[in-house]
Symmetry: C2
Subunit: 341 residues, 2 copies
């Protein structure tokens, strides 16, 4: 580690559709923005080095990794076999204390696996969760977990998601008392599946969070809560339903705009006003999704991340480290285990 | 029953936000459109009779029912206690062969309960399902079941939903070989929750349907399938996510349109082109949702149904009776039980 630099972040330079170019660009931008943080670009030297143009700033270094994990590879197999994959090397750096955090825009399943097998879980966390931010009407966003990393969940998992998500919003997003909501098919207590009912009871009894009850999918985009707790199956269905509805409507609007000369003129008039909408639907704005429950900071960036998305992901990873997220989650769990059993 | 009139439909005149006015209006329109069908308006004589203006056509009659079930009443309790509720009386008419079908825009849970307790299930059907039509980009719509009537489901339930939904599309909507899809969080086989995986296996082995595999929520609106099979929890989440996204986007578009004089002018130019979109998002267009698996035709109309929605619901009920839906479902089940065990 460089002298005088307190914080070190490993970046899987080979992960994502636009890697390594955008990963490198994002890291260089971040290095300029945060001189107190050092960055390790992990990846194929032959491809990454030329991108640095021989003028990498002092807080950016390159770590060669001879392998990469493809987007379609079977996660567990890939992580087990490719010991020198950029993602695995970055995870190992976190495990061994060589880096405080890692980021990747690569294969989500492989990153989950590398997190579990290489970085490892916080003792007491049965299952880590990927916490993604869903854009909301007011641009603040809703942190939702789990959105599909695990298709099945037990009530205890949802309980842990609630605790971890709440701590993340407090420490990384600076929210004082984030409202935790449970995704359900009705707002009243007693509604929903057996899983939802049991989770409701656990969340109601958890003093460490501000549980505000059930939230329906239609109210999520209006930010009915700050942390949305859900099982991966219905969470993923919700997310893809948002995407599908948005795509359909925007497609229709576009069609209406390009109908004739008059509507095209109208479109030109409307465009500035609709830019906010487009921004709202751009998940890249929100940067990375943390993998919560691991004993190190691991952030997943969207597969199509550009430099700005990488930089946003880096910001989240950096803030998580600076505000002691991992310690806070571990303390909550051990404290609870001590007092509650 | 009137001489020469073959088909008789009972209408809960008191159910829905706009009852009894719109229910009566819808029935009168239907009576004019289908003179071969007779209609029984079931409800409070004091409120329904004046709406007929003393000039009810020969194929419309009134059946007094002294009670009504409110939108917020606890379903099982309400159906058990209110023997003379309009909804319960209509269900009894179906049970006793006095009517071939019934419709209601009232309390959904109560209608499910009346269906189960009064009309009764087709032997072999473990659980009836409410099949709703989700608007699609091509205006054909996707018949989805279950969308929330039952929060939890077993694989065998999803199997039965697939069979019943497929028969409905064939017989009532005239589709020759409807594509049946399973709501899942990935398209490949082997994806999803335990429930989804087991349901996938059952649907793959069902010769009576055309199973085309998993469907993601984002592809539903593009009509990736004709019948969408899902558990009530994730189905309901999907539906409400569609609604939420649509509300958010339309709100933003509206805001952009009303920003200043120029954008208002643009809005005027755009409106005709956007009418199709509005229609697409108007669930009323699609009329009633059949409750499949009961030993009689029961159709749920949306709570805010107007006359046109009632008439559309009546059309579906009428077509279900005319094409022998109940018999077809019963035959499929008994045939299968005979051959497959």
């Amino acid at each position: 580690m460089e002298e005088g630099i307190g914080l070190r972040i490993a970046i899987d330079a080979m992960g994502g559709d636009l890697a390594p170019e955008e990963a490198v660009k994002g890291a260089l931008e971040a290095a300029a923005e945060w001189p107190d943080t050092s960055f390790v670009l992990v990846g194929d030297e032959g491809r990454v080095k030329p991108l640095l143009n021989g003028q990498a700033p002092p807080n950016v270094e390159l770590r060669h990794a001879s392998e990469t994990i493809g987007a379609d590879e079977e996660p567990v197999r890939a992580v087990r076999r490719k010991k020198d994959a950029s993602m695995v090397v970055a995870a190992r750096m976190v495990k061994e204390g060589e880096a405080d955090a890692m980021l990747s825009a690569g294969n989500t399943g492989a990153l989950m696996t590398a997190g579990l097998l290489v970085v490892g879980r916080i003792p007491g966390v049965d299952r880590p969760a990927l916490a993604q931010t869903i854009p909301s009407a007011d641009d603040v966003g809703v942190l939702a977990l789990d959105l599909g990393a695990n298709a099945d969940a037990r009530p205890e998992h949802l309980h842990m998601y609630a605790v971890m998500g709440s701590l993340y919003r407090q420490l990384v997003h600076g929210m004082e008392r984030p409202r935790v909501g449970l995704l359900n098919i009705g707002t009243e207590e007693g509604k929903g599946s057996e899983l939802a009912k049991e989770a409701f009871a656990l969340l109601s009894g958890e003093a460490g969070i501000r549980f505000t009850g059930n939230v329906e999918a239609r109210d999520v985009l209006q930010r009915a809560c700050d942390v949305l707790v859900c099982d991966g199956f219905s969470g993923n269905v919700m997310l893809k339903a948002f995407e599908g509805a948005a795509a359909l409507i925007m497609g229709e609007v576009k069609q209406a705009f390009t109908k004739n000369v008059l509507t095209k003129l109208a479109a030109a008039v409307m465009m500035p006003g609709l830019r906010g909408l487009r921004r709202k639907m751009d998940y890249k704005e929100y940067g990375g999704a943390p993998l919560l429950g691991l004993s190190g900071v691991v952030v997943k960036c969207h597969g199509s991340s550009d430099a700005r998305a990488f930089r946003n992901g880096i910001r989240q990873a950096r803030d998580a480290v600076r505000h002691g997220l991992i310690r806070a989650i571990a303390d909550h769990i051990s404290g609870k285990e001590g007092s509650g059993g």
